[in-house]
């Protein structure tokens, strides 16, 4: 192989890595909410898209990307608290399906609300000035901003791992995923845990939205594109597991990036093919524990 090809592959790998880590933030939130609350949040992509839009508005007002990066997830996380408290909580004693239907209705509302406020055009979030331009890497050029996304994504992945695996709140979450009744039987305020989990999950989606803004731009319809890819990640990786979200994101992110580079027309079908294959061989996902059907 020529050095050109090698350099192309290395650059594509890094692109895939940046994309994978954005997917990971989404999948981790979706998977966390599902693992804890049995709710598949079909508005997850909508919160991602709203995150990009809100980030854009904050950048327009303050002129500072970093403020948007910090404030947007907090704002959207607070919105998540409200949604959990006033909508989802009233359905706790109903079937999980009703809660999924609720998030579906929410996706309709958020889709239209976003179109109303931000219009139907493609809007790009400007990258921060410090990360403008690119650096020479592997004999090619690579955008500085994407390097930042990779670095920040890894830091967040480690932080989430630490929170989940090494702190007492993480222990409550893991216990809650395994056996919710037992956790509330131990005197832990499960309603509060649910609120926090939902807010954190939504906040991660919004964070992913802001970080993705300078790379992918925002437009109506991105919400469900993102949701579908995230669903594929968690189906392939296995719902409710940290490992599943991480490896699922890396696999799907890289396959989709290389697919788009080599066979642009088939990239999307490639990841569906992987999903179908995983379902045939291991219906609970690569890292899923329990039987699904």
């Amino acid at each position: 192989m020529s050095t050109d090809t090698l350099s192309f592959i290395a650059i594509q790998f890094l692109n895939g890595l940046a994309y994978s880590l954005l997917l990971f933030l989404l999948a981790a939130g979706l998977s966390l909410i599902f693992g804890m609350m049995d709710v598949v949040n079909l508005a997850h992509g909508s919160f991602f898209l709203i995150g990009t839009y809100v980030g854009l508005t904050i950048v327009r007002v303050t002129g500072n990307f970093w403020i948007a990066l910090v404030v947007t997830p907090l704002l959207i996380g607070a919105l998540g608290l409200v949604v959990e408290r006033y909508l989802i909580r009233s359905l706790y004693n109903r079937s999980p399906l009703d809660q999924v239907l609720l998030t579906f209705g929410l996706a309709f509302i958020l889709m239209d609300l976003a179109k109303w406020i931000w219009g139907a055009n493609v809007l790009a979030l400007p990258a921060p000035a410090a990360l403008d331009g690119s650096v020479a890497l592997f004999g090619g050029q690579f955008p500085k901003y994407r390097l930042f996304v990779i670095a920040a994504g890894f830091v967040l992945a480690v932080v989430l791992y630490y929170l989940n695996d090494r702190t007492s709140f993480g222990a409550v979450i893991r216990a809650g995923v395994a056996d919710r009744e037992m956790v509330s039987g131990l005197g832990i305020n499960i309603a509060l845990v649910f609120s926090i989990v939902f807010a954190v999950g939504i906040g991660l989606a919004a964070l992913s939205g802001v970080v993705a803004g300078p790379i992918y731009s925002a437009f109506p319809g991105l919400d469900f594109q993102v949701l579908i890819t995230t669903l594929i990640v968690v189906v392939v990786g296995g719902m409710g597991t940290y490992k599943g979200s991480l490896f699922g994101s890396l696999l799907i992110g890289e396959v989709q990036t290389f697919g788009q580079a080599f066979f642009p027309d088939l990239a999307l079908f490639l990841i569906f093919g992987i999903m179908a294959a995983v379902l045939l061989i291991k219906p609970a996902g690569l890292f899923g524990r329990e039987a699904v059907a």
Binding site: F108, D112, P283
Partner: protein, 316 residues
Amino acid sequence: MIVLVLVLLVLFPLLPSSYALGVLTDVLIFGLFAMSLDLLLGYTGLVSFGHAAFFGVGAYVAGIVGIYGGPEIYFTLPAAIIAAALAALVIGFFSIRTAGVYFLMLTLAFSQMVYAAAFKAPFAGGSNGLAGIPRPTLGFGLGFADSIAFYYLVLAIVLASYWTLARLVASPFGKSLRGIKENESRMRSVGYNVQRYKLAAFVIAGAFAGLAGALRAQFNFFVAPDTLYWTTSGIALVMVIIGGAGTLIGPALGAALVQVLQNLISSYTERWPLLLGAVFILFVLYAPKGMIGLLEQRKQVDQETSTQQAKSANAL
């Protein structure tokens, strides 16, 4: 009651409003689409979020066959039904391996894949959609080009489909489906091949959705890729839930409410999806059994108050 509704439906074209006739044709088509989804959702307990895939496949195939083959009804409709059933067979084969939310996610994901495929396929017109789809003909110079004739065709097909679906859910097969919905492991342990029943229900529902999609394409002379988009699956789901899942009339009522509301509201505001989402959430929160459930509740309350009145009258 039923006779009255039928008479009204048959006499409706006497009204001079072609606009109202168009809305009613759409109500009937979406009623069939929603009923086909309810066979899965309300009768089998399979919550499909990707029913637009079959509606869309039916629409596109009816369009393509109509444009490139010929408009004869004996080709366009069977082709659409068979194509939708085949699509349902493939998607169902993978999806029914899972249950609950996994099934929901898979059907949603597969339908979005079909949507993406319609964008890429050269013969489907990409993002422009497929235009110039002919209304069906019978041959010998007879056809349904006229709106009133097409309305009667749709009415006949939807009524026949309703009758077929009603027979189906009342049959031993339909009872087995309800058994699967109520307790899948019990059905399995008494010896039912549950997966095969589920797949059969999925294919039948897909076929009827394809039929509805074909009629919709011929009604509008046009298919847009949006027909396959998640919002179309979503609207069918909304119709079933706000009408009342687990009945066939419920989804048809839901279709009527949604279509009529859409036509009324769209002339005042563009914010129709927002309102639809809000109405849907209100139903999920406060009336999960839909309009049919509300009507039954009302009936019960009426009965209770009348017995109470009778009692107090007796006491006096």
